[in-house]
């Protein structure tokens, strides 16, 4: 017996289903009943019930790419804020190998870097690295902050949303899994892109978003295109899970490397 539908809004403690269903992330089981443990939206798939939180902090996972701010320079590492409850560090070894150089001359407090999570240990200490395409310090551009659960929505199916925004605004956009987004382009376009990203965050739970964002961008920019893009039906399953696979594809498309060290 199930009491909720897909995409229903639930609050902590709400009973979602009786037996025959499985408890997934964001839910717990008590005396045979599945209850929500978060404020968020329901997602049901193969009898698994999950609650996708409306807002969240970033929980780091090995292999993900993130955008981090340097918060402190230590003797042999940098402390990095990755918008997460767990602290992250970038060891000097990952940058210089065996060479000895002064750390603060390379990256200083206040710099923003594009990084990869190399390892998360048992106490959730996050080790970061710079190996990968386009990794390194950002010069110029703006940083937009969204909640990490909305990142898959910003990217869209196989990067449909993000590529559409890039094409329309001619901005370079890099999305970190931790909800920080870097945008660089013409000054006005940067602001426009920022507004659009914030709009996507606010309306991430609605369907048909890619088309609406496209129309909005067209009307703002005064462009009228017909078949430039195929229509993507972004239905329910886009909210399912941060799609790392798509995200990596999207990074390959990224042709920007003027910020790499």
């Amino acid at each position: 017996m199930i009491y909720v539908d897909n995409k229903d809004f639930v609050i902590p403690g709400e009973v979602l289903a009786d037996d025959d269903f499985y408890s997934d992330r964001g839910t717990f089981k008590e005396s045979g009943k599945i209850c929500s443990s978060l404020i968020g939206l329901i997602s049901i798939r193969n009898k698994k019930i999950r609650v996708i939180p409306l807002k969240s902090k970033y929980i780091p996972k090995k292999g993900e790419v993130v955008i981090g701010k340097i918060e402190d320079v230590k003797f042999s590492m940098w402390d990095v804020n990755i918008n997460s409850p767990y602290s992250a560090f970038l060891p000097a070894f990952e940058v210089f190998k065996r060479e000895k150089r002064e750390l603060s001359k390379v990256y200083d407090v206040g710099d923003v870097l594009f990084l990869k999570v190399l390892d998360v240990d048992e106490v959730k200490k996050v080790k970061l690295g710079l190996k990968g395409r386009g990794m390194g310090k950002f010069k110029e551009g703006i940083i937009v902050n969204i909640t990490p659960t909305k990142v898959p929505r910003l990217i869209g199916k196989k990067g449909s949303m993000i590529n559409m925004i890039k094409d329309k605004t001619n901005c370079n956009i890099i999305v970190g899994q931790n909800g920080l987004v870097w945008v660089k382009g013409e000054k006005e376009m940067e602001q426009l892109t920022k507004n659009i990203i914030e709009l996507i965050e606010a309306e991430a739970h609605t369907s048909g978003l890619t088309d609406r964002i496209k129309n909005k961008l067209n009307s703002i920019l005064g462009v009228d295109d017909e078949d430039e893009f195929a229509f993507f039906d972004d239905e329910t399953d886009e909210l399912e899970k941060p799609r790392l696979q798509n995200f990596k594809d999207e990074l390959k498309i990224e042709e920007e490397d003027d910020f790499s060290e």
Binding site: K69, D111, K187
Partner: protein, 262 residues
């Protein structure tokens, strides 16, 4: 201290240099302001003010008590401000910190120095009984510019305050809570806050603008267009021209703000 990314600082400064801001305003434009009064039934006066995302609530409680010995015929005015962690991740629980004391004192100075509340009329019996006004400010959400929001909330709350009738009877003090009248006010005060970013003075700063700013200037202006209070904050210096320009803008903005208080 909060660490702001260098590229964010640069982009904000760039925008302000072109008379633009992150949220699409010009540098001398306020965010949308809304005021609600009489929202706390247990308080004699109350108001909730929103400036953009910033939300503050002010409550006025009245009590008869002993006056200060040096001013036996004047009522007592006290301002207190709470900055609770729900309003901003940097706010901590515990005794008031520097920030919240400064906020309460700057707001208090605006009200006190403008002689907004007619304290002489709050005297019930000289030397023994005067009305004491307790102003409690509560920050609900901090999105920058708490000063203006707080001053506006206090002015609106005082403006809606109902004072019970107090008199001296045969067996001491009698308070009649049925018969109330408006708190005697001489003036109304509003405040305009500016921050210096690059070489520009920006009115009504957002949280991000506050974080990247060099200096801050609060200017309290009365209904008559007189400057009644000022406070300089932050590390950066301000020159004479910047201060005078800000005073002129603050005076011209004051009527706009006062119109919001009914």
């Amino acid at each position: 201290m909060k660490i702001i990314p260098e590229i964010t600082k640069e982009s904000i400064k760039d925008l302000i240099g072109n008379n633009q801001r992150e949220d699409g305003r010009t540098i001398d434009q306020y965010r949308d302001i809304s005021i609600e009064t009489d929202i706390i039934s247990k308080a004699e006066g109350s108001a909730k003010v929103k400036i953009g995302g910033t939300k503050v609530i002010a409550g006025i409680k009245l009590q008869v008590g002993a006056p200060y010995p040096d001013n036996p015929n004047l009522g007592v005015l006290m301002t207190n401000c709470e900055m609770v962690p729900i309003a901003d991740p940097t706010f901590e629980v515990g005794p008031p910190n520097e920030e919240s004391i400064e906020l309460a004192r700057v707001v208090d100075r605006g009200i006190r120095e403008s002689k907004m509340v007619d304290l002489e009329k709050l005297c019930v019996e000289e030397g023994n009984h005067v009305w004491m006004i307790f102003i409690d400010l509560h920050v609900l959400d901090n999105c920058g510019n708490l000063f203006d929001a707080c001053e506006l909330a206090v002015t609106a709350a005082l403006n809606s305050t109902k004072l019970p009738t107090a008199s001296i009877g045969d067996d001491g003090l009698v308070i009649d809570k049925e018969n109330t009248f408006d708190l005697p006010l001489n003036e109304k005060v509003v405040m305009s806050t500016f921050v210096k970013i690059g070489s520009e003075m920006v009115i009504d700063p957002s949280l991000m603008e506050e974080d990247v700013s060099d200096g801050r200037l609060n200017i309290g202006v009365t209904e008559k267009g007189l400057v009644c209070s000022m406070q300089k904050g932050g590390m950066g210096p301000l020159n004479k021209k910047e201060i005078l320009d800000c005073v002129n803008i603050a005076i011209s903005k004051s009527s706009e703000l006062l119109n919001l208080i009914k």
